[in-house]
């Protein structure tokens, strides 16, 4: 078997980072949702909120552990797979990753112990503060990582010296042009992902009639959050797209499968982009659409892929990933509003709504992955846009080593993913046997860590 080591290195890194992002995508949002449950309980003394916390903190612990172990893998793979990246861009990547570990990783990892197991060992206040540090740590972690990723997309504040990046201004490096958009896009994605997880699992439990009132209360929280975040996310995504058009026009051209530069560019709803003939086979188009969306003017100019021959990403995969993300985004909006309308206007949700929510439990994952494929594959062939290409920095492992370890990783990750979902199912199935939500508030969960 003769596979290109560069391709293998990319697939391996992509497999790892795809697996990893699934868990922060939940824990960033879920951390704050847990604080909300905690505060509601502290304020009202209503056992249902404590019950909600007890249930979801277990999911959080599991998710967090999966995120930590796959995140540690990431920190090593920068060096094992892309040694050239650290040699050339280490002056930027090193400090940003370093600040992530020092300011965020230690914070969340240390206070997690108190958050999970320390409720009886510290005061309510200290426990709340610990939970806050964990949630804050996960968000801060995202801040540094997205800053570095954004710098790779839109590098500023540096100059090259003998082919090595030297920093001129840290403010410009950290707050590079695409950073604010990518950061808030990812945070909103995480909140949406966890909102649908919370709503979906609760709907599943409601369908199976596990734990009545508390389940419904949690579902309402998830649905309301999703209904608010879905339109907000579409708005942020639109801003992000306009920013990308300004800085990475080749990526936008691939996302929209636009080959020729022009004005009055239509929006291609579906098509089969063919890189051989450099054209779209069978395209369904909306006139003026792309110009309107990207420049907010029907006459706006959109650059085509033919302006970037040899320096643009593979078109079909970026085009389709973008449509998957967009499709799920719209679906999220429709389902969350439909569910919100039933839950809050009629006080009850019917079976179709519950089934739709349950089916959408992991929809956030698909959208997050699709979105990352758009932005990461859309950056190819560059690793730092316009500065270094991916092939400049790859390690020279034999393809036998690479395919062997790749096989091992993929097997492990599939097994872990199945175990994770299996464990969620186990947790969801189990009613809190000793929980009485009636007038006698006797609360003694036998849940063990």
């Amino acid at each position: 078997m003769d596979l290109d080591p560069l391709l293998l290195a990319r697939i391996q890194f992509a497999a790892n980072i795809s697996f990893h992002i699934l868990f922060p995508a939940i824990s960033i949002g879920l951390g704050w949702i847990l604080i909300y449950f905690r505060l509601r309980y502290t304020r009202s003394g209503d056992k249902a909120w404590e019950y909600a916390y007890q249930f979801w903190v277990k999911v959080f612990a599991l998710t967090f552990a999966m995120g930590v172990v796959s995140g540690i893998t990431m920190s090593f793979q920068f060096g094992t797979n892309w040694p050239g990246f650290m040699e050339k861009a280490g002056n930027v990547a090193g400090p940003l990753l370093g600040y992530e570990v020092l300011s965020a990783f230690f914070l969340e990892a240390s206070f997690l112990g108190i958050m999970l197991f320390g409720k009886n060992r510290v005061s309510n206040r200290v426990h709340l503060i610990s939970s806050f540090f964990v949630a804050f740590g996960t968000t801060l972690s995202a801040f540094w990582i997205l800053s570095l990723n954004s710098w790779m997309q839109t590098p500023t504040g540096y100059h090259l010296e003998d082919g090595v990046v030297m920093v001129d201004s840290w403010m410009e490096v950290i707050f590079n042009p695409s950073f604010p958009y990518r950061f808030f896009h990812m945070l909103a994605a995480s909140v949406l992902t966890s909102a649908f997880l919370v709503a979906g699992v609760s709907a599943w439990r409601a369908l199976h009639e596990v734990d009545g009132p508390a389940t419904w209360r949690v579902m309402r929280t998830g649905v309301l959050l999703a209904a608010v975040m879905a339109p907000l996310q579409i708005f942020i995504g639109d801003l992000h797209g306009i920013n990308t058009l300004e800085h990475q026009p080749a990526k936008i051209a691939a996302m929209e499968a636009v080959w020729e530069t022009g004005r009055e560019v239509p929006f291609t709803v579906v098509a089969f982009p063919d890189q051989e003939t450099r054209s779209n086979r069978w395209a369904l188009e909306i006139p003026y659409g792309a110009s309107l969306i990207l420049t907010h003017s029907p006459r706006g100019e959109v650059q085509g892929l033919n302006d970037f021959v040899g320096k643009h990403p593979p078109v079909a995969v970026v085009f389709w990933s973008f449509r998957v993300m967009l499709g799920i985004g719209v679906l999220m909006l429709l389902v969350s509003w439909w569910a919100a309308w039933q839950l809050f206007r009629r006080g009850k949700a019917g079976r179709p709504v519950l089934m739709a929510l349950a089916a959408m439990t992991f929809s956030g994952w698909v959208a997050v992955l699709a979105g990352w494929y758009v932005t990461e594959i859309g950056r190819q062939p560059w690793i730092v846009d316009g500065v270094f290409t991916v092939s400049d920095v790859v390690a020279d492992h034999s393809s036998a080593t690479m395919s062997g370890t790749l096989f091992g990783y993929i097997l492990l990750y599939l097994f872990l993913l199945a175990s994770y979902i299996g464990a969620l199912r186990q947790l969801a199935k189990k009613p809190a046997a000793s929980l009485q939500l009636g007038p006698t508030p006797h609360f003694d969960t036998s849940a063990r860590a």
Binding site: K58, V69, N91, G94, P95, S103, F105, A109
Partner: protein, 330 residues
Amino acid sequence: MEYWLPVFYMAAMGLALLVYVILDGYDLGIGMLLPLAEESEKDVMVASIGPFWDANETWIVLGVGILLIAFPIAHGIVLTHLYLPVTIMLMGLILRGVAFDLRVKAGDHRRTLWNRAFFIGSTVAACAQGWMLGSYITGLEDSTLSLVFSVLTAATLPALYLVLGCGWLLIKTEGRLLDRAIGWARAAVWPMGLGLLVVSIATPIVSQTIADKWFSLPNFLWLAPIPVITSLLYLGLLLMLRRDELLQGSRNWLPFAAVILICLMAGLGLAYSLFPDIVMNRMTIWEASASVKSLQFTLVGVVITLPAILVYTLFVYRVFRGKATTLSYD
């Protein structure tokens, strides 16, 4: 600045990795001991490390992080060369880390499976780390001698972790499990001692550079306290492990402290052997260092956060002081 910044980062990296070996060492050691315990005892053993393991593991990320921040060129060389053991270690750490949760959340029928995963993950990670250490000391060469040495360290580090794990159990457990832990400690202390002795003798044999650094006057006299103190600590450890009343009493933390000091001594010896090379015989810390501007920028962060990390780490250990009971989310 050009001289001292890399030295500072080298020291910080060494410290982070030393703290990692001690902290994750004890919980990997407990993972390796897991099959020896009875079902109910397994829960207590896992509970004794449950609140800490996550933060413990972060120290290796900091160590590798500093390698990346301060010595980006060496980071590439070292990790490319150690690709295979690093990958194996990561898979072990992944398995061990998820097993913490899944052994109780995946349902009772899966418990045995995840207990086994916990054990295998811990053992594999410990052995892979020993292998990496050996390979690093011998300058990342592919010679047979280097390979033999790596096998030796791959057996010694897990033995050290086992004793650390026992030491932690002495502090955190009581009753029958404590009796068992005492038995394990008495057994595990021998392979550890043998391993450390053989590695200490083998190191100057496999590395001429290290031999030259140690066996020349007056260096030898300055360095003599390191092996002498280590030997005394080891003897002390042996004596302590023979005294039941000490192990059952309030000074049961002494064996753990002795092993920590042995780790510290080994760390000092290793640091002296390697300095100033970041890749043995190939690259000094100054040749591998990042730009002064980048190092200064991160220095600010290190100076502010590291003391804070130490303070809240101590705080967490204080919160969970005393004997371990089964963990609960209450």
